[in-house]
């Protein structure tokens, strides 16, 4: 049986929920092109997976940074994942609101980052501390808090560059932004 959800009559809400769960699982396999240990679900950019009343599948994603070059790549990857998963008719939309921030990173995503050697964002974007200079950042290798910001901008728009004064490890910090 084809997995496309094209029959508006057939299918109860329960069927729709099953399809939606399958799509979420499918998208959990799509990696962030620049930080491949993270899936786009970990990153928190998939905003909606819904089988609409007309039977079509709607997937909404949001960009991280306005100028993030990975956005177009991610869209292509999501499209191919949906095609390969049997949802060639899915409607892929880009939504801007509410805007993405690093607060959307999942707890699992933060752990994956740390294990990969990238310090996850410290605190939340909304905390008032964020406006008052750099927060303390823990070294992802030795967990020392004795770290120095080398550059507020790093290898991708979402990262800053740090160095650990305890173990000497240079590392990326996923900005709290």
């Amino acid at each position: 049986m084809s997995a496309t959800v094209s029959d508006p009559q057939g299918g109860s809400r329960a069927d729709a929920a099953t399809v939606e769960a399958r799509v979420w699982a499918l998208l959990a396999e799509v990696p962030d092109p620049e930080i491949p240990v993270l899936s786009i679900i970990d990153l928190g950019i998939v905003r909606e997976v819904r089988v609409c009343a007309d039977g079509r599948l709607r997937v909404a994603i949001t960009p991280t940074y306005s100028g993030c070059p990975a956005t177009a790549v991610i869209r292509t990857m999501v499209r191919s994942a949906l095609d390969a998963g049997g949802f060639p008719n899915a409607v892929l939309e880009e939504v801007l609101s509410p805007p993405w921030s690093s607060d959307w990173l999942t707890a699992a995503g933060r752990e994956k980052l740390r294990a990969f050697g990238i310090a996850p964002p410290e605190g939340t974007v909304t905390s008032p501390r964020q406006l008052l200079g750099s927060p303390g950042v823990s070294c992802p290798r030795c967990a020392s808090r004795e770290t120095t910001c080398v550059s507020e901008f790093g290898s991708t728009p979402c990262k800053a560059h740090y160095c650990c004064r305890t173990c000497g490890e240079p590392f990326d910090y996923f900005k709290c932004l």
């Binding site: 100028g67 509410p98 805007p99 507020e152 900005k175």
Partner: protein
């Protein structure tokens, strides 16, 4: 059609034109400043600063893309972001004249950036509550990025202004040279007033004191002297530009002008 209906139609047309024109102004300032910053790639004084300028450029161009796409839809003549960016001439660009000023030395680039970051910060904070939900969504997104840009430019303003005799002198020179373009930032024209009346845009005279206070405080922290008030506002947003914009566009638009419709 009676006279009232006619005048209502004319006013609706005027409002629609003001709306797309307003979004285009925001877009053009981001685009032109983003292009200027990109000129630093391969020339910045240190790798970290090159990364910073390139990243800020990328954010600004990203914001410009969202705004240009929206402006094109509001205009309703089928122009997309690329048509608006690459196929308009200088008098059709409506960026702030400050944004198009040349990079100069690092001091000029930082002062220009800091003045515009502080302006965008106030604008986006206000636009986040715009009655135009699409514009509000773009502003909310841009605001987070702008805060980070401002932290960077303000940091250098203070470090260099309060640094050596040489760095201080260069920062003061840059501030003196660029200050004359700041009157435009908060001088409203008909488009601004239209948009403000409709709740789409903030009232510029209301925002001005917030920007002034912020700038005043930063200048003090940087041990610099704030120049006297500029004698008159420039009209970049109405298409009146300095000679620098044409050169910038010449480079930015060269490929699309030479090979129309070229794609990657």
């Amino acid at each position: 059609m009676n006279a009232t209906a006619k005048s209502r139609e004319a006013s609706a047309e005027l409002q629609q034109e003001a709306h797309w024109g307003y979004v285009l102004r925001l877009a053009d300032t981001s685009l032109v400043l983003g292009q200027r910053l990109a000129e630093w790639i391969g020339h910045a004084p240190a790798l970290e600063e090159e990364l910073a300028l390139a990243n800020i450029s990328l954010d600004l161009i990203g914001q410009a893309r969202l705004l240009l796409t929206y402006a094109g839809e509001l205009e309703g003549r089928g122009r997309d972001e690329d048509a608006l960016a690459f196929l308009r001439d200088a008098p059709e660009f409506c960026n702030l004249a400050l944004a198009e000023q040349p990079n100069g030395d690092f001091a000029h680039t930082i002062v220009r950036q800091w003045l515009i970051d502080a302006w965008q910060l106030e604008m986006y904070v206000a636009l986040e509550h715009s009655s135009d939900t699409r514009l509000a969504a773009i502003a909310a997104k841009a605001l987070r990025e702008t805060r980070y840009h401002y932290r960077f430019s303000r940091g250098w303003l203070i470090r260099l202004g309060d640094g050596t005799a040489e760095s201080h002198e260069r920062m003061q020179r840059a501030l003196d040279a660029l200050w004359r373009f700041t009157a435009e930032l908060f001088t409203p024209d008909q488009v601004d007033e239209h948009m403000s009346e409709r709740g789409i845009a903030p009232s510029l005279p209301e925002l001005a004191p917030r920007w002034s206070a912020r700038v005043e405080e930063d200048v003090r922290m940087a041990s610099l002297a704030r120049p006297a008030a500029p004698p008159y506002p420039w009209h970049g947003k109405r298409g009146v530009h300095t000679e620098h914009l044409g050169h910038l566009l010449g480079e930015m638009q060269h490929l699309q002008r030479t090979y129309p419709g070229a794609r990657w």
